[in-house]
């Protein structure tokens, strides 16, 4: 049975690695982020060591009694994780370098498109301009005045060539004033 009480030094080291790693991860510069990723990766690897319990004899059958062997499984996993972290680090470095080549800096930039949409929303602007809707006027009344059907056309044709927009409004006004007189 392996002694599972964790080594306090390792725990503290892991804590420090994670703290510094998270701090660096929050930076803008990609190379600092890279160092943060490496530190967090190493912290996770140490965590695996703790997960395997205290160190023991080499886990080779026949060399030592089974109860004194250390657990080989987490070490196999740590190896895999180290290789993966190595690959990712290389890629991130290449990306930081490419970013520096292109922009002369390696900062993680903002989402431009998102900013644009947010700015449109802030000034209360339409995301679209509708080119094929016919905006007739400023207010609803203006639009109503512009919208006419055949009966309006007939009326307008019959009437004297009055001013364009006022025609229907005048007709309405006349009807409105005429009706109360006829009712009684």
């Amino acid at each position: 049975m392996i002694d599972m009480s964790p080594n306090i030094v390792l725990v503290v080291v892991i804590g420090v690695l994670f703290t510094v790693g998270v701090y660096l991860l929050l930076e803008r510069s990609l190379s600092r982020v890279l160092i943060g990723v490496i530190l967090i990766g190493n912290g996770a690897n140490l965590l695996f060591l703790i997960a395997g319990g205290a160190a023991g004899k080499p886990p080779i059958v026949g060399d030592a009694p089974v109860s004194e062997m250390s657990d080989p499984l987490p070490q196999a996993m740590v190896l895999t994780a180290i290789v993966i972290t190595l690959g990712m680090t290389a890629f991130l470095m290449a990306m930081a370098y490419r970013s520096w080549q292109l922009h002369r800096h390696d900062e993680v930039q903002d989402d431009v498109e998102d900013r644009r949409i947010a700015r449109l929303a802030a000034i209360d602007e339409h995301a679209f301009t509708d080119r094929d809707t016919e905006d007739a006027g400023e207010t609803l009344d203006d639009e109503a005045a512009e919208t006419r059907d055949e009966t309006d056309e007939v009326l307008r044709g019959a009437e004297a060539p009055a001013s364009e927009g006022a025609g229907p409004a005048d007709a309405d006004g006349d009807a409105g004033s005429a009706n109360p007189e006829e009712r009684p």
Binding site: F48, S99, V108, D111
Partner: protein
């Protein structure tokens, strides 16, 4: 050959082998294409066979002959096989599309020699994540597919792609680190990373520790699946990639995260202590995602936001923790992979025809390219859930499951689901009107769409329709899958037939510890 388990590793091994071969033949583009197509066709055939075979019970293979908890096992149960079949069909279609695109553009346009191996590695990673019966191997699968996705996303290394890619890579690395840390903690608590053995051992550890482990895994997978507070990276990074790459990312990568959530929530943490939290997260994902889509005027970004939003439906189904909810959720994943990928491929065609994806500048495509209009309209209506299409079936299933549960929170989610569906319809109809019917603000370029690109797109749209017509049998299949998830014992029994060890090399080794204790490799020497 009578034992069909030899099929199980093929979806992982064949693309990896193909990737190596394609990389070795980087000077011969024609051979590369042939290899990719053959490899992915083989994967599709193997996955479809697994889909049929897994209906009789999970197929398990202990890799290298090492018995399950010590060695790594691959498990193809109904859920894995279904995910695998849909995803391999989608990857094959996208590959054919990108081949036709390469033909049309001339091969100088993209560094094709690296595209093929990377694409194959991506499919291998996805398959590995779906098939693995071992938490650490799922991590490896994730890393394989993520590494491939970093390369595909930054293909060509232009300024815009490096900008979007750096955010994507950093977020993905963070989620991987979280996943790795949770694996280490799970190993420390239980002494195993084998899913079946974890299912046995996790109930025996301290409930508080178990909750912490559950939260950590959920956060790690939540970033991958783009659940609301963790989803901001997605709409920024996906649209900048080339159209086929965006399509396959949208279809598969987030779904791998959803799959991992389904697998761990059902198998490892069946008591569902975080269901309420997940429900709120699902609601926020749906509503906030779709509001984002409504605000966009670029069709690629609009679709990326609908992608985030519809992840919420799947999480809703998972959080219900009922067989009905899981049934609908699995069906919805299958539906969403096909439809979302098809839509992104169509947008690739729109960009080609109209020269832009901005809805402000597109217009009148319905007259210019009627086939394109049909290809857009069907999956768009499918996504927003117009009956009788598969999106409708999936949503109805989810709403029914929500009503069946009947808690106030579930009803809130049902209302949220309907609202999201309507807003999806609004956003997509807006895109439809703008791109296909408005008078084009400027004359669109006169180009022809290559038939080789329309073919695979049409095939995917057809697959989406097939999910509708095969809705009955498929829904029955996902119901059986959900039943098995609820029961848990078919999976555990298949991996660990005698309750302790799988079939394999170390099966004759006697463990001197009881199974509840820490994992100790305790071989009695048998010379």
């Amino acid at each position: 050959m009578n034992d069909p388990t030899w099929l199980v590793p093929l979806p992982v091994v064949v693309p990896l082998f193909g990737a190596g071969l394609a990389l070795a033949l980087y000077r011969k583009p024609r051979a590369q294409r042939l290899i990719s197509v053959i490899a992915l066709s083989l994967v599709l055939a193997a996955s479809a066979t697994l889909l049929v075979l897994a209906d009789g019970g999970p197929l398990v293979i202990d890799v290298g002959g090492w018995a399950a908890p010590v060695g790594i096992d691959l498990v193809a149960d109904r859920l894995s096989a279904l995910m695998l079949t849909i995803s391999s069909a989608v990857t094959l279609a996208v590959l054919l599309y990108s081949l036709a695109e390469g033909d049309a553009d001339g091969d100088e346009a993209a560094p094709v020699s690296i595209y093929h191996p990377t694409y194959l590695v991506l499919t291998a990673g996805v398959a590995n994540a779906f098939l693995s019966g071992d938490l650490f191997n799922i991590y490896v699968g994730f890393e394989i597919l993520l590494a491939a996705s970093y390369v595909l996303l930054t293909l060509g290394g232009t300024g815009e792609r490096i900008r979007a890619g750096s955010i994507y890579v950093v977020v993905a690395l963070l989620s991987s680190a979280l996943f790795l840390i949770s694996i280490a903690m799970i190993y420390a608590a239980t002494g195993t990373v084998n899913l079946a053995q974890l299912a046995v051992r996790l109930p025996e550890i301290d409930p508080g520790v178990r909750l912490v482990l559950q939260i950590m895994l959920l956060v790690a997978f939540g970033i991958k699946a783009a659940i609301f507070p963790l989803s901001a990276w997605l709409p920024d990074s996906y649209p900048t990639a080339p159209a086929p790459v965006t399509a396959v990312f949208a279809g598969l990568l987030t779904k791998v995260g959803v799959y991992a959530i389904i697998r761990t929530q059902t198998l490892l943490f069946p008591e569902g202590r975080l269901d309420d939290v997940l429900m709120w997260a699902a609601l926020a994902t749906m509503i906030i995602g779709i509001l984002g889509a409504v605000a966009q005027d670029d069709i690629k970004r609009l679709l990326s936001f609908t992608l985030v939003s519809h992840i919420g439906y799947m999480i809703f189904g998972i959080a219900l923790s009922t067989t009905m909810g899981w049934t609908a959720s699995i069906y919805y994943v299958a539906h969403h992979i096909t439809v979302q990928t098809a839509l992104f491929l169509v947008v690739g065609l729109i960009e080609r025809r109209g020269g832009t994806t901005s809805l402000d500048r597109l217009g009148g495509l319905a007259k210019l390219a009627p086939v394109l209009a049909i290809l857009f309209f069907i999956p768009a209506m499918n996504l927003s859930g117009i009956p009788p299409l598969s999106g409708f079936l999936g949503k109805v299933g989810l709403l029914q499951a929500g009503v069946q549960l009947g808690t106030p929170l579930a009803y809130t989610l049902v209302v949220g689901g309907v609202v999201t569906s309507l807003l999806t319809l609004y956003a997509l109809v807006k895109a439809w009107n703008k791109a296909f019917w408005q008078t084009p603000p400027a004359e669109l370029p006169d180009t022809r769409l290559p038939g080789g690109m329309i073919g695979p797109t049409a095939a995917l749209v057809g697959l989406g329709l097939a999910l509708t017509f095969a809705g009955g049998p498929l829904y029955a299949y996902t119901e059986r899958a959900a039943d098995a998830l609820k029961d848990r014992s078919p999976y555990i029994d298949a991996v660990l037939p005698d309750g302790e060890r799988g079939a394999g090399e170390s099966a004759n080794v006697v463990s001197d510890e009881s199974t509840t204790d820490l994992e100790t490799p305790a071989p009695e020497v048998t010379p």
